[in-house]
């Protein structure tokens, strides 16, 4: 409650919330395409590769302005992607090997440069190491404005090229046969992904940024079967995790933002995996149980009818135990018969014997008809 009150009065908290909401929306929305194309880990490579870009940008300009550092990050991320693509196309090195290789090589160079910068004399050069795990509390207005402009631009382009991006993600070869420039669309999407990643680096950090690309989309997919809805939901999930994680971390001294946001995102993913309708595990289990129960009841009903017909009378009573040898598990027949009695299909004659009612006979005949 105190946090919410502060949100309306505290400037720092407002910046943190707006910045992390922006990054969540952009990375969630664009991450959808990365996930649908099976390129989830490209985001990881881009974000790790961005680190040396940030360091070089600082070394060249001496500035820590967000636009300067983001430009450096974007250039390095782009270069890594380009290397991954061209090497996998021209050699026999596999895509995932190349991803891992670029990720660690660029990240290693970044760490070396970062150490170099920190050991140089002179004040005002510390602070770049917050790019490792992110520091939301450090967000100021110009950061947020930069993030919003770049991220907004990326989302507008995504909306404009909606159908091109859809074909690229679903069936790029077919797109090519229609004369659509799939290569250009691919480059566009990668560029948008790079933008989504670099605007989040200051808040989430290079190490965990890929979670903001993958997790919202993975959660969003659970709840919907439409691309538009999935993009919107992923953006909403990304924003929710971003804001809650950033706020928690910025009000607790020494708590890095990246891991906190990722933990919040993890909660959303877990809830989605278990409780989403249709695709959620819980509902799938409930549905399976329901239909298993229905199959068992139908089987008992038909068995009872079948047994009766052997006596020439569908209403002929039978022992519950006789049914257990036919279609259902031992010990379950009485329970099933009780459910059938509630539905009015059978009646109990004495302690052990059961018989079909007239509506039960009718139902059994209808079932039999349907199955033959």
């Amino acid at each position: 409650m105190e946090l919410i009150r502060q949100l309306f009065t505290d400037y720092t908290l407002q910046m943190v919330a707006m910045g992390s909401a922006t990054l969540g929306i952009v990375s969630g929305g664009l991450g959808t395409y990365a996930v649908l194309r099976g390129q989830s880990l490209l985001g990881d490579a881009i974000s790790h590769a961005a680190l040396p870009g940030i360091a070089v940008a600082f070394l060249l300009t001496g500035s820590k302005a967000p636009l300067v550092l983001m430009a450096g990050a974007a250039a390095a991320g782009w270069l890594a992607t380009l290397l991954i693509m061209s090497v996998t196309e021209t050699t026999r090195i596999k895509y995932d090997s190349m991803l891992g290789l670029m990720l660690s090589v660029f990240f290693g160079v970044g760490l070396v440069l970062l150490t170099f910068i920190q050991h140089r004399s002179g004040a005002g050069q510390a602070g770049l190491d917050t790019f490792l795990f992110g520091q939301a509390a450090a967000l100021v207005e110009r950061d947020v404005v930069t993030m919003a402009v770049l991220g907004g631009g990326a989302l507008v382009l995504m909306a404009l090229f909606w159908k091109e991006l859809k074909v690229l993600s679903f069936d790029p070869e077919f797109g090519r046969t229609m004369g659509m420039h799939m290569r250009a669309v691919d480059i566009l999407l990668t560029t948008l992904l790079v933008v989504a990643i670099v605007i989040g680096l200051q808040t989430v950090g290079v190490v965990l940024m890929s979670a903001m690309i993958i997790a919202p989309a993975a959660a969003g997919r659970q709840w919907t079967d439409g691309l538009g809805k999935m993009v919107a939901l992923s953006a909403a999930f990304g924003a929710a995790a971003g804001v809650s994680g950033a706020l928690i971390s910025s009000t607790t001294a020494g708590l890095p933002t990246g891991p906190t946001i990722v933990l919040c995102m993890g909660v959303i993913v877990i809830v989605s995996i278990f409780f989403a309708p249709n695709r959620g595990l819980v509902w799938a289990r409930v549905r399976a149980r329901r239909s298993a129960g229905r199959f068992h009841r139908e089987a008992v009903l038909m068995d009872l009818h079948e047994l009766g017909m052997q006596h020439g009378d569908p209403f002929h009573p039978h022992e519950a135990g006789a049914l257990e040898v036919m279609s259902v598990r031992k010990g379950s027949a009485v329970k099933i018969l009780e459910r059938l009695r509630e539905a009015g299909f059978v009646r109990q004659l004495d302690a052990t014997r059961w018989a079909l009612t007239s509506s039960g006979v009718e139902k059994a005949r209808a079932l039999k008809e349907k199955r033959t």
Binding site: L36, G38, L160, F161, W162, K163, E164, K166, V167, S169, F170, D171, E173, F174, G175, R176, T177, M178, G179, M180, R221, T224, D225, G226, L227, K229, M230
Partner: protein, 256 residues
């Protein structure tokens, strides 16, 4: 077939994957208005041939003409039905949406499909008997239904030439009959169809032309002229059994 225009002309087509030739020095002429099967064993290069025609794979050598013009100029006249397994059917989209993708090429950059495009897509779905599935999520479709959605997507392109990669793969007998009816209907409207086909027994019944392929072109032409024991043996090597039936030689691959 005399006096027909030539729909597709292939000269000296060679496609190689690294050092291994997948297609070697292919010459094929496909007259317009025919329903032609492409037949050959696994790894014979059937899919590669289709993809080379569509410029999805760059040939090492060769010349390909559609109605006497290169593919780039005739793109609008050529529709493609890829193998069903080439896409992720769990993609979050609807049947109608997939069919409308067939119209994206003509729309051009940025422009969105509208009511007219939805109408065309619905008509195409009707032709393949899938109109009631328009709003269905594509992951809920059976194999045969997926195949018919792909056919509908090619139908909206309203092309002159249809290149189909195994449209009968994994579909039930009813769907197979529905599909072959559709292909005959297209032929009756003077469309040209090239169909990668696996079931040697139905070639004579379904198709009027056939190309026998195994890296090289073994034979191509009217079914009654080139679909012979001799040519099949050349195509499949020893891996084939012949059954003499009343309607001439029928064949099936020997269980190896």
């Amino acid at each position: 077939m005399n006096g027909r225009r030539t729909a597709i002309e292939v000269r000296d087509l060679t496609v190689a994957y690294r050092d291994t030739p997948v297609l070697w020095d292919l010459d094929v002429t496909v007259p317009s208005g025919v329903l032609m099967a492409i037949v050959g064993p696994n790894g014979a290069g059937k899919t590669t041939f289709i993809k080379a025609l569509l410029n999805l794979i760059r040939p090492a050598a060769g010349r390909i003409r559609f109605f006497d013009a290169p593919y780039e100029e005739r793109r609008q006249d050529v529709a493609y039905v890829p193998q069903r397994g080439s896409v992720d059917w769990d993609f979050p989209t609807s049947v109608l949406d997939v069919v409308m993708m067939g119209l994206y090429g003509r729309l051009g950059w940025i422009r969105r499909p509208g009511r007219k495009q939805r109408e065309q897509a619905r008509n195409a779905l009707e032709k393949v008997g899938m109109e009631s599935f328009a709003n269905r999520q594509i992951s809920q479709l059976s194999g045969g239904q997926q195949q018919r959605v792909f056919l509908a997507r090619a139908l909206v392109q309203d092309a002159e030439i249809y290149l189909m990669d195994e449209p009968f793969q994994g579909v039930d007998a009813t769907t197979e009959r529905a599909i072959i009816e559709l292909l005959r209907e297209l032929r009756a409207r003077d469309k040209t169809l090239l169909v990668v086909h696996h079931d040697l027994q139905t070639v004579t019944e379904y198709f009027d032309h056939v190309m026998l392929l195994n890296v090289r072109r073994i034979a191509s032409g009217p079914v009654e002229e080139v679909y012979t024991e001799e040519n099949l043996r050349l195509t499949y090597g020893g891996r084939i059994a012949f059954l003499r039936g009343e309607t001439g030689p029928t064949v099936q691959p020997a269980s190896s």
